[in-house]
């Protein structure tokens, strides 16, 4: 059996352009060029980093994308506005509800569609549940990258299952909810469902306490993450970094406050800010955001108004917005997720563009990793919180 | 040739010594030279043990004592020697003995 080197490990021909260079130069000087990915346990999918090492210290890091480029934007131009909705589920497959919302928001802007109040509340509830789900899973994956043998990830996924049960009983699918529509939501949550959500919200704080006992005070985790992957606020702003990563550098910018979309202004919540911009801050900001999300959930569940879930004037079939363009964005769990739509009056958008938060957050990956070791690069990448479906689209 | 153990041991140790010598002289790689010297030291240790075992008894464990000190010194020598090699390598990116002839960095 002829077996070449492991793909990704010794990346002959992983990217053909780099072929010649890598074969001849793999041990150039004292530097070692390692190609991490596209198959690597810690790249959260099929992401690849070409890392040049001096000993174990990174002197150069080049990300390589496109291994999960599924042509979302091209497909979005060939299917109807409604047909793109299930595709948005598959963008950031850990937080389909917020993707739905961002897309629905952009289309509603484009078509001038009003949304009933109840639907807005339900959207907030689902978005915050998604945030809980996403941040919990992220913490689990981050700890997995730190070298935990699965335990935090298991606890995170245990809680994720509870949230997914809610999503499933509401929308019919665990991950690919396809729940929101232009002008509201597809199904009205029942009283049972709301009671379940309330129960989950009430006990989520207990879970977070236990999770934090396991992780936050852990000396090894503090030593591994504090001071690692620092990011300055200036660079973060210039590089378009958004979401918890931006707030971990101390920049107070949360679209839920800034854009005040949906019914967020009605809720009382705070925006946690970090001072160091390192991996630990990014992790802690997410934990603190989860606690704020619980507060929002409590308020939203308490104040959920009665009424229709869907604007009766909204059209499902033969939906043709007027010619024009719109850019709508919301605060997704990973950062600003936006949709840019250009309509020429036909049933399909002329241009359908996704502004992927984790793709743009990766702009600063090299800046954060330089001078750190391979082990750090892994957790820095983990703390950026990428989902490849969204990075490569 | 008698099959007495002591001359055999001594022959063994002298052969090892000469091997180390040849290695140290013939090779130009500093690490190998160092390893040759280590072998020579080991050969000396063999003698100590051989004499301790089969030689006239002076003090019960003197030979063993000597070997232990010798091992300690050899370890120190190896550490310093290899540190030197690394330092030299840092300077001229080479560890060939012939080229390490400059006294200035």
């Amino acid at each position: 059996m002829s077996v070449s080197d492991l793909s990704g490990l010794n990346a002959e021909r992983a990217t053909p352009g780099a072929r010649v260079r890598e074969v001849h130069d793999s041990f150039h000087g004292d530097l070692l060029e390692v190609s991490m990915g596209p198959h690597h346990p810690s790249t959260h999918g099929v992401f690849r980093m070409i890392v040049t090492l001096d000993g174990e210290t990174i002197v150069k890091l080049k990300p390589v994308f496109g291994y999960l480029h599924r042509n979302h934007e091209k497909l979005g131009e060939t299917v109807t506005y409604l047909g793109s909705m299930p595709y948005t589920d598959r963008l950031d497959y850990l937080s389909s509800m917020t993707n739905n919302w961002a897309y629905a928001l952009a289309v509603e802007k484009l078509a001038g569609q009003a949304v009933p109040e109840r639907a807005e509340y339900v959207r907030v509830i689902l978005a915050e549940l998604t945030r809980l789900l996403n941040h919990t899973c992220l913490a689990g994956f981050l700890m997995q990258d730190c070298g935990c043998s699965g335990t935090p990830l298991m606890y995170a996924f245990r809680e994720r299952e509870y949230i997914l049960d809610l999503f499933e009983s509401l929308s019919g699918s665990r991950m690919m909810c396809n729940y929101q529509r232009f002008g509201g939501c597809r199904v009205d949550p029942s009283a049972d469902w709301l009671a379940g959500a309330q129960k989950l919200t009430d006990r989520y704080g207990t879970f977070l306490d236990e999770f934090e006992t396991l992780l936050t005070g852990n000396e090894i985790i503090m030593a591994r993450t504090q001071g690692v992957g620092k990011l300055s606020p200036e660079l973060a702003i210039s590089a378009g970094v958004t979401g918890p990563m931006l707030r971990a550098t101390g920049v107070n910018y949360d679209l839920r406050k800034v854009d005040a979309y949906g019914v967020y202004p009605r809720f009382d919540f705070r925006v946690p800010l970090g001072d160091h911009g390192d991996v630990y801050d990014r992790y802690m900001i997410r934990v603190l955001e989860m606690r704020e999300s619980i507060k929002i959930l409590q308020q939203a569940l308490a104040g959920l108004p009665a009424g229709p879930i869907m604007d009766p004037k909204a059209k499902l079939r033969s939906f043709r917005p007027k010619a024009g363009e719109a850019y709508g964005r919301i605060e997704g769990p990973k950062g600003e997720i936006g949709f840019y739509l250009l309509s020429d009056g036909s049933p399909n958008p002329y241009r359908y563009r996704i502004r992927p938060p984790s793709f743009i957050n990766l702009t600063v990956l090299e800046d954060m990793c330089l001078g750190h070791t391979v082990a750090d690069a892994v957790i820095i990448l983990g703390s950026v919180d990428i989902v490849l479906g969204e990075v490569d689209r | 040739m008698s099959l007495d153990p002591l001359p055999l041991c001594l022959l063994f140790s002298s052969a090892l010594f000469c091997l180390g010598l040849i290695g140290a002289l013939a090779r130009s790689n500093t690490i190998l030279v160092l390893l040759g010297i280590e072998l020579m030291l080991n050969a000396a240790n063999l003698n100590f043990i051989a004499f301790w075992r089969y030689g006239p008894a002076t003090s019960p464990a003197t030979g063993v004592m000597f070997v232990m000190f010798s091992i300690a010194v050899a370890a120190a020598e190896a550490a310093v020697g290899l540190a030197l090699i690394i330092a030299v390598y840092r300077h001229q990116k080479n560890i060939r003995l012939q080229e390490a002839n400059r006294l200035k960095g």
Binding site: L75, V79, T80, L82, G83, S84, M85, P86, Y87, D89, R90, T151, Y155, R158, E161, D165, E168, S169, L170, S171, G172, S173, M176, N178, R186, V187, E210, T213, L214, L215, T216, G217, N218, E219, I220, M222, L316, R317 | -
Partner: protein
């Protein structure tokens, strides 16, 4: 600090270890092949076609081959060919029916858009998920016969929704019948009127 955080962590794992022997919340496993998760009513996996009558599935398909789902299906996994002749549908109206109705489940993304856009409640989402197979083409390409499932089955998996659909259909049927009766009555009246007065305006055809 000084290892206390590590000890607390050990405490959490120990609590979970001990808890797994007595606390169901700390042993959340569903032992799958023997025990199965209770699927929520809303759960959807792949579409199926509703038939009114289980004994004559092809004769009582609700589908009228309007091809809306085919057009709306985002991944384009539905293929329909209309029949040449007509059959009475659920409400008794003569309608076309699908001569070919195929769904490629290896393409379907379970988005439910076909169900939403169907004006005839003819296509619904199934809940069967144990369909792993060794053969891609003959097992995952479902044709009309494989897709057709009875209304009773639909009631079984989505009771609330099915009841609603049935009520609506019944109402529609009633309305149609009433309309038909009215039309017939009108026709009769018109005929009577025609007999009475030959220049009476024509009632529009139904």
């Amino acid at each position: 600090m000084l290892g206390t955080g590590l000890l607390q962590g050990l405490g959490v794992t120990a609590k979970n270890f001990v808890g797994s022997f007595h606390d169901p919340a700390r042993l959340t496993t569903i032992e799958y092949p023997e025990v199965k998760t209770k699927l929520p009513e809303a759960y959807r996996n792949f579409p199926f076609l509703v038939t009114e009558n289980a004994t004559d599935p092809m004769g009582t398909l609700r589908c009228v081959a309007c091809q809306i789902c085919e057009k709306e299906c985002p991944p384009q996994c539905i293929y329909i060919e209309k029949s040449k002749d007509k059959k009475p549908d659920a409400t008794g109206k003569p309608q076309l029916f699908p001569a070919i109705f195929a769904i490629d489940t290896s393409v379907c993304m379970s988005c439910q858009i076909c169900v939403e856009v169907c004006p005839f409640d003819a296509i619904k989402m199934d809940q069967v998920y144990e369909i792993a197979t060794t053969d891609r083409f003959s097992a995952l390409l479902l044709n009309r016969e494989q897709l057709a499932k009875s209304n009773a089955y639909y009631h079984e998996i989505h009771p609330t929704e099915a009841a609603e659909v049935d009520a609506r259909l019944a109402a529609e049927r009633k309305a149609a019948e009433a309309k038909a009766v009215a039309a017939a009555a009108a026709k009769a009246a018109a005929a009577a009127a025609k007999l009475a007065a030959p220049v009476a305006p024509k009632t529009p055809a139904v």
